[in-house]
Symmetry: C2
Subunit: 149 residues, 2 copies
C-alpha cells in the first residue's frame, strides 16, 4: 500500500473521530508531505472544506511554481469543486483512493492533462460505505444531491 | 445597474480597503441577498477563499435544495475552482461583472447547463485594472499563473 495514501486515510479517520465525513487528503512534493487535511463539513459547518480543499488551504498562499510538482492524494474521487481547485493550481497528478462510492470529475481532469491514478483501495471504500449507511442525508449534502436523486 | 452587482462591487471594495484583491460576490435567493463575500487571499493567507467561495462559505452547510434557485453574482469571471463549486452545488445562474481582465471557466459552466450572464461592467473592470497595475505578482498567484506566462 502506498504510504502517502495511508496518510490520507489517517486524515480520513481523524475526521471520523471528530464526528465528520471520513475523507482525507495529503499534498506531496519531493517525496515529502507538505500539506494535509480532511473534510470539515461537520466540524466547521463548512460548505467548501472538502478534504482536498482543506489540504490546499493547509499550505496557504503559494506561487504557481509551488504546485508544479505537487501530487495530491485523496481517499475519494474529487468532486467538481476539488477538481476545479486542482485545475486552478495546475496540479498535474492526482492519486485517488477509490471512485466506486462516488465518481467525481476525473474525466475533466484527464481531458485537461492531469494524470489520475485510482488505487481502488478497500479501506477507503469501506470507510465511506460504513459512514454512508448511517449518514445518508449528510453525505448527500456534501455532494450537493438530494436524497431522492 | 443591477443592484445585486452593486452589492458584489461593495464587497470587492471592502476587500480593497482591507488590502486584498478587489473581487466580490453575493448569493441571491428569492430576490434577497442570502450570502456575501470577497477574496481573502491576502487577508487570511488563503489559497481557497476566492470571492465566490467566501460567499458560499458565508451561508455554511445547506441541503442541495437550498441552491436550486440561488443566483450567484461575482464581479469577475469565475476561475476553475469557483466554477467547480458552482457545479458541485448545481447553481443554475451566474451573473458576471466582467470577463475582460480574466476569462474563467464560463464555457464549462454553459456546457453543463448553467446560465452565464456577463454584464461587461466598467466599475468591475477598472477595479481590477487599477489593482493589477500595482500588484501583478499577487494577481498571478491568485489565478495560479507565473508572471512570465
Amino acid at each position: 500500500m502506498d504510504n502517502f495514501m495511508l496518510e490520507a486515510i489517517f486524515e480520513a479517520k481523524k475526521s471520523l473521530e471528530e464526528g465528520g465525513i471520513p475523507i482525507g487528503s495529503v499534498l506531496v512534493k519531493d517525496n515529502q508531505i507538505v500539506g494535509r487535511g480532511h473534510n470539515r463539513r461537520v466540524q466547521k459547518g463548512s460548505a467548501i472544506l472538502h478534504a482536498e480543499m482543506d489540504a490546499l488551504e493547509s499550505v496557504g498562499r503559494q506561487p504557481a511554481s509551488f504546485y508544479e510538482d505537487v501530487i495530491i492524494y485523496t481517499t475519494l474521487s474529487p468532486c467538481s469543486m476539488c477538481t476545479g481547485a486542482i485545475l486552478l493550481y495546475k496540479i498535474r497528478h492526482v492519486v485517488v483512493g477509490e471512485n466506486k462510492t462516488f465518481l467525481g470529475d476525473e474525466a475533466l481532469l484527464q481531458e485537461r492533462g492531469v494524470k489520475v491514478e485510482v488505487l481502488d483501495d478497500e479501506t477507503c471504500f469501506q470507510l465511506m460505505q460504513d459512514f454512508i449507511l448511517k449518514n445518508r442525508s449528510l453525505w448527500s449534502e456534501d455532494i450537493g444531491t438530494s436524497l431522492t436523486s
